[in-house]
């Protein structure tokens, strides 16, 4: 079985950001990581590989040169091969563009299964996976929390509002977007990391891949609006605690 997992490199969620026109600038220290849903998608693929020995697992990331770090980490976790679609990070490519690039490369690679995260942790669009599936003509199933492969058939569970679940059956090839669940991603192993160090990901220049013109454009970035008073308590921890307790008592909440 041939599996592809698409992973995105994101800034650590706790990074502080400055806005410069339509560009988001993280403040140092610059800390990057694999998007957490993408890491869970990779974990699902690795679990399939553990069970089905003749599985070949490719990880792919689109972005500027530093994305090689997340590809190395994925190799360290146990992926067999890494592909880097080299593309500028500004302006961030639209999801339709990312999907077209990935499809242009993946077409003809004979993948049986493609996994993405349910959403990228930063852009939160949930779009690249289903759009990639549309390019390939495969039915996407999103928000998948459990999957089983039996020959050429897939049995999946997808999660809905209020925790309700749908059970679906579908044939391979298929594209699934992975939602979080009780499985936690494994850590890279030392032997895999050493192997990863010596591996150079296959680099494909996005400039050579076809994509449709953008259909939407980011025209402004602004700080989010405050929807409540948002009184910020100042002082030491003890002073903040004292102030909070007083406010709760004033409102008869305590």
């Amino acid at each position: 079985m041939r599996i592809l997992v698409c992973i995105k490199q994101v800034w650590e969620p706790e990074s502080l950001f400055d806005l410069q026109g339509t560009e988001l600038r993280p403040r140092p220290p610059l800390r990057r990581k694999v998007g957490s849903y993408d890491e869970l998608a990779l974990e699902e693929a690795l679990r399939l590989k553990d069970r089905l020995p003749r599985t070949n697992l490719t990880v792919l990331s689109v972005g500027p040169p530093p994305v090689v770090d997340v590809l190395r980490r994925a190799l360290g976790m146990g992926a067999d091969r890494a592909v880097h679609i080299l593309a500028p990070d500004q302006p961030p490519p639209r999801p339709a563009t990312l999907a077209a690039w990935i499809a242009a490369w993946a077409q003809g690679q004979n993948f049986d299964l493609i996994l993405t995260g349910v959403m990228s942790e930063d852009a939160m669009q949930g779009a690249v996976g289903p759009m990639l599936a549309a390019h390939l003509g495969w039915p996407p199933v999103t928000s998948v929390v459990s999957l089983k492969v039996d020959g050429h058939a897939l049995a999946v569970e997808r999660e809905m509002e209020g925790g309700r679940r749908q059970r679906l059956a579908l044939p391979l090839p298929a594209l699934l977007t992975v939602q979080s669940g009780p499985n936690q991603p494994r850590y890279p192993t030392l032997s895999n990391l050493l192997r990863a160090k010596k591996t150079t990901p296959l680099t494909v220049d996005a400039a050579g891949l076809a994509a449709p013109p953008d259909r939407e454009k980011v025209v402004a970035l602004t700080p989010p609006e405050k929807r409540r008073a948002g009184l910020v308590l100042e002082g030491s921890a003890a002073q903040k605690a004292e102030r909070l307790l007083a406010m709760l008592r004033e409102r008869a909440l305590l």
Binding site: P13, E14, L16, F17, L24, P95, A96, A99, E121, A123, M124, Q125, G126, A127, P130, M131, P139, P140, V141, T142, S143, R158, M160, E161, G163, R164, Q166, L168, A169, L170, A174, P182, Q184, P212, P213, D214, R215, E216, K217, V218, V219, A220, L221, T222, P224, E225, K226, R228, A229, G230, L231, V232, L233, A237, K240, A241, L245, R249, L253, L254
Partner: protein, 343 residues
Amino acid sequence: MSAGAKSRVVVVAEHSQGRLSPVNWELMACAGQMARVLGLEVAAAVLGQGVEPLAGEIAQRTGVKVWAVEVEGMAAFHGEAQRLALAQLLPAWRAQAVVGAHSTSGLDWAPGLAARLEAAYLPGVEGLSAGPEGPRFSRTAHYGKVREELAPTAWPLVLTVQPGTFPAAPPGEAGHGEVEVVRLPAPPCRSQLLEVVDGAGTDAGLGRAKVVVAAGRGVGQAENLELLRRLAGLFSSAALAGSRPVCDLGWLGYGHQVGLTGATVSPSLYIACGISGARQHTVGMQGSGFIVAISNDPQAAIFNLADVCIVEDLTVLIPALLEQASGYSDPASLQGDLPGRPG
């Protein structure tokens, strides 16, 4: 912009188990604003089986035209069937824009539909305005730390509305819109929906509690939940809740999860501890009476909807709270079985 006078913005209604979801009235509110900004006419569609009464309910409450699409074999929501059916029907409906919810269902059909229609895709829309060159749609990104404004540069548009951001169009008798029944043979789906099962979550008493103390990933380790339990113990009617990652990690059972795929609560007081404030979480708690947020990240999105913001390490702040409160609180409430132990 090519939005002609008689073009439509079509709301695709959500429903399950024979009932319309409340989010539909928020979708209607967004579509109403789009209609004004873009000069479109609002219409709606409900897909499934036996959906005519649901279409009637929408037509009565909003006064707009509603298609009741009876899709053969679609007994419950099935993303692939919905996407294929819409792709087939929309051209005949003169749809310049299609509106769904940024929900687990909307995410299953909308992006693929946008790709298929070569439409602009606007995910998780929270507001819109008229810009100099056409409409602008706003959404949040980057962990809720940034508001992004998007301008479509192609038509039609497919957009998903972030639940809990547009005020629901109020119920009323707007006069009965037309209901048109369309019958569709089963679309050529490759996936097959087998069954829908209820979640494993148990009732954690979240709905009844006057105070909810909620744990996020920032709690750091399961042992620190004890601090939150003791904080909850200061109140006479309190329950312990968690964000999704806390439940995924098994620190709390899924019955404690608040948010889009968990419970919706509106206690008098909600204390968010180590929660960043992703929309999927806040949609489940933003109706709370008074919101206190504790996070060590001064830019955390949760602070944008809190009444009181405390930038602090919770393992420092909560002990300080407990220490200072012990002088005042009723000692009886600190004893016995504290709320919210995982089941």
